[in-house]
């Protein structure tokens, strides 16, 4: 493996790790950052997005439209969960944690009963790019681009819309926001919906790269949490920086020590980082 090939390989791996981490963490970061809710059912919003995308795709929708439908389905599912369960548990951290975990278990079992152990997946589009004796999936690199687009859109929504203004106010000082007439409960409901849509879109985007199984959400949950913790309170800057730095660490570790080595590097980095930077990368930026 020549130096150029190694560099290329590293770049591609780092990009694809960044893309995946950023995508699966964004929805979680929004809900945690604005509402302070630790959503243990986060993985299942990704699952709903991925399964709906696959269903849409197999029904003949173009992939992008199917992903959009997947995001919408996850959003509606999020809305139902928020109305039925979460809204009664605001400001009760432990209770929401247990309740969302329960939602997660129920969804996994329902999916298993309804669809069985595996679900017909989606073929990865866009082919491959060649570099020297090596090749990699173009779609994996495109995912990094998709992640950047999603982060930019989320930033725009928070900065330039009325909902964004309200949600930032509610995040900074809930009581004061209420005094000023901002309907915080409505803002929370919208935020949960928005976070769920983001997770659903992430699920749709990663669906063509993995096997669709009832526990696919559980598999990504750890990585999503790690990214959010490393990122800290700042939803956009913190989370994207976290995904980038974790991707850059995971790539060479997995090249040198295999897939398991990559995961270990991810977790060890996280442990060290929260020891040194208890507020995550947000603390450094601010």
């Amino acid at each position: 493996m020549s130096l150029i090939e190694s560099l290329f390989g590293f770049l591609i791996l780092a990009l694809s790790h960044f893309g995946k981490l950023a995508l699966i963490a964004l929805g979680l970061a929004v809900i945690f950052g604005i509402m302070g809710i630790i959503n243990f059912a986060h993985g299942e919003f990704i699952l709903v997005g991925a399964y709906t995308t696959a269903m849409g795709y197999h029904a003949g929708f173009p992939l992008l439209l199917a992903i959009f439908v997947g995001g919408l389905a996850a959003g509606i599912f999020g809305l139902i969960v928020e109305r039925l369960i979460i809204q009664h548990l605001y400001d009760r951290l432990i209770e929401t944690l247990v309740a969302t975990w329960g939602v997660s278990l129920i969804v996994i079992q329902l999916v298993r009963i309804q669809f069985g152990g595996t679900f017909a997946g989606i073929h990865t589009p866009l082919g491959s790019i060649q570099y020297g004796a090596f090749s990699a999936s173009t779609y994996r690199i495109a995912l990094a681009g998709a992640a950047i687009v999603l982060f930019a859109s989320t930033y725009a929504i928070f900065m330039y819309t009325r909902y964004g203004l309200h949600s930032r106010a509610a995040m900074q000082n809930k009581e004061m926001a209420q005094c000023l007439g901002i309907p915080t409960k409505r803002v929370y409901m919208k935020t949960f919906f928005f976070g769920s849509v983001l997770s659903g879109i992430a699920g749709g985007l990663i669906a063509p790269t993995v096997s669709l199984t009832p526990d696919m959400g559980t598999n990504v949950l750890v990585e999503a949490f790690v990214t959010v913790i490393v990122g800290g309170a700042n939803v956009i800057v913190g989370t994207s920086l976290a995904a980038l730095s974790l991707g850059i660490i995971q790539a060479p570790a997995s090249m040198l020590f295999g897939t398991l080595g990559g995961y270990l590097a991810l977790l060890i980095t996280t442990v060290l980082l929260i020891r040194v930077l208890p507020e995550g990368l947000t603390g450094v930026v601010e």
Binding site: G121, T124, A133, S135, G258
Partner: protein, 450 residues
């Protein structure tokens, strides 16, 4: 027909009332049988398992997961059990057969509790059960302590050498024709992707041993934890090692993501598989051409072109339309019943010690959907035909012979266990019902080559 099992999904404790219109007659006989065994129990207190007068009901027990992660697999095994019993008209030796099924839901503690219950309270004459090796190892001490005749029939790495246990399924060592085929047809250098737990690592040892015998060697090995679905760096590593073929020992749907990712990355290397297609039908769940040029070796595939098998497949699918593919675990459960039936008929009784002796007679051989399956007296493992399936671009399966030509025959007939295991495990000559051997042998580095 086709009435689904009535095993209670949540409580997991309802004995199976086996569908169909004969229920009332059977319920009556079951009640009569219950009276019989109660009387027997008071007369022969403490002597569990072999209280049988000739007019008594024969009881068969199954412990297969019907819920949880492998619920679908266990449902298939219970469905085919029901189908087999209906074919026999619920009769054996002219006596009524009663089926007792529980759902351990993939929980090893439940497996243990239900094993105790099905042996001690239901007093089954024969017990079938366990999906994973961990389930089986949870059951086995209880099975042995109670001297219970027991069948394990789901694919595993091999090595159980147990007086009371009879095993029919594909063993890792029986997949050796694939290793030979791949080395002869593609070359000696292979890269192994191995699920990092007992089944994967032990099977990989067998693969490495046989590869060496046939003149090949691994140019790379990656041990992947279960549940991992990210293979970017693995694909990179494979391209660097540039193997002639890839040995697949991936387990579970997350690890099967490898194939999709390899396809997307443009990796074009044939797969020799010890873990795909027959049991988990990736050629049905993935869109073509992801599994193209997978060469998989097992004792059974739904596509086996014999008349016997095609009739079996058609019948099973029409009675149980939930199953799109008749996978290995289903057929192994069916064959296990065939073997038991043959052993009981040979023994002329369901007395467990005598049936075990019949199993060990060397005369037990049945025409299963997969072909001829015989019970090896010394190892208590099935000797059987191995088929080499090739998955083509449109995900159709053809069977190949050693030269790679299409054939309607197995690639190797009547394949037994590894020589190493056959020399370690000699149940017929060294173990008796009262002084039993109940081991599991795991090959250490170097064991196989001696």
């Amino acid at each position: 027909m086709g009435a689904r099992k009535s095993t209670d999904r949540s409580g997991q404790t309802t004995p199976n009332a086996h569908g169909s219109g004969k229920n009332s007659r059977r319920r009556f006989l079951k009640a009569a049988g219950g009276l019989g065994s109660a009387a027997g129990l008071s007369a022969l207190a403490g002597c569990i398992g072999s209280l049988g007068s000739d007019d008594e009901t024969i009881r068969i027990g199954t412990l297969y997961d019907n819920s949880g992660e492998l619920g679908f697999t266990g449902e298939g095994k219970d469905a085919v059990t029901e189908m087999f019993l209906e074919e026999q008209d619920y009769e054996l030796l002219g006596r009524e057969v009663e089926l007792i099924s529980y759902d351990p839901a993939g929980d090893n503690t439940q497996y243990q509790n239900l094993t105790r219950r099905i042996i001690q309270e239901d007093e089954v004459d024969m017990l079938f059960g366990a999906l994973l090796s961990s389930n089986r190892e949870a059951m086995r001490p209880i099975v042995n302590e109670n001297k219970q005749l027991y069948s394990y029939n789901d694919w595993y790495e091999g090595g159980v050498c147990d007086q009371f246990t009879f095993i029919n399924t594909t063993l890792s060592s029986q997949q050796r024709p694939m290793i030979e085929f791949m080395i002869d047809n593609f070359g000696p250098d292979y890269y192994a992707i191995v699920a990092d737990y007992n089944y994967g690592t032990i099977s990989n040892q067998y693969a490495r041993f046989y590869a060496e015998e046939y003149g090949g060697q691994p140019v790379g090995e990656e041990f992947v934890p279960l549940g991992v679905d990210e293979f970017g760096s693995t694909i990179n590593d494979i391209q660097q090692a540039d193997p002639d073929w890839i040995l697949s020992l991936t387990i579970g749907a997350p690890q099967a993501s490898f194939f999709e990712q390899a396809e997307a990355a443009g990796l074009d290397v044939p797969y020799g598989s010890m873990s795909n297609i027959a049991g988990t039908y990736e050629h049905k769940t993935f869109e073509p051409p992801v599994m193209t040029d997978t060469y998989s070796c097992f004792s059974y595939f739904e596509e086996i072109p014999t008349e016997r098998n095609q009739e079996f497949v058609e019948k099973f699918k029409s009675e149980y339309p939930d199953f799109d593919y008749v996978f290995l675990s289903i057929v192994d459960a069916y064959t296990a019943l065939q073997l038991y039936w043959e052993a009981v008929e040979l023994a002329g009784t369901v007395d467990q010690e005598e049936v075990a002796a019949a199993y060990e007679s060397g005369d037990i051989s049945v025409e299963a959907p997969s072909g001829t399956v015989a019970m090896d007296p010394e190892t208590h493992h099935a000797t059987q035909d191995m088929w080499l399936a090739h998955v083509d671009e449109s995900h159709e399966v053809q069977f190949l012979d050693v030269d790679g030509n299409p054939t309607d025959e197995p690639i190797s007939e009547q394949v037994g266990t590894s020589d190493w295991f056959a020399s370690e495990c000699q149940l017929a000559s060294e173990s008796t019902w009262d002084d039993p051997i109940t081991e599991q042998y795991i090959p250490e580095e170097g064991d196989l080559t001696e």
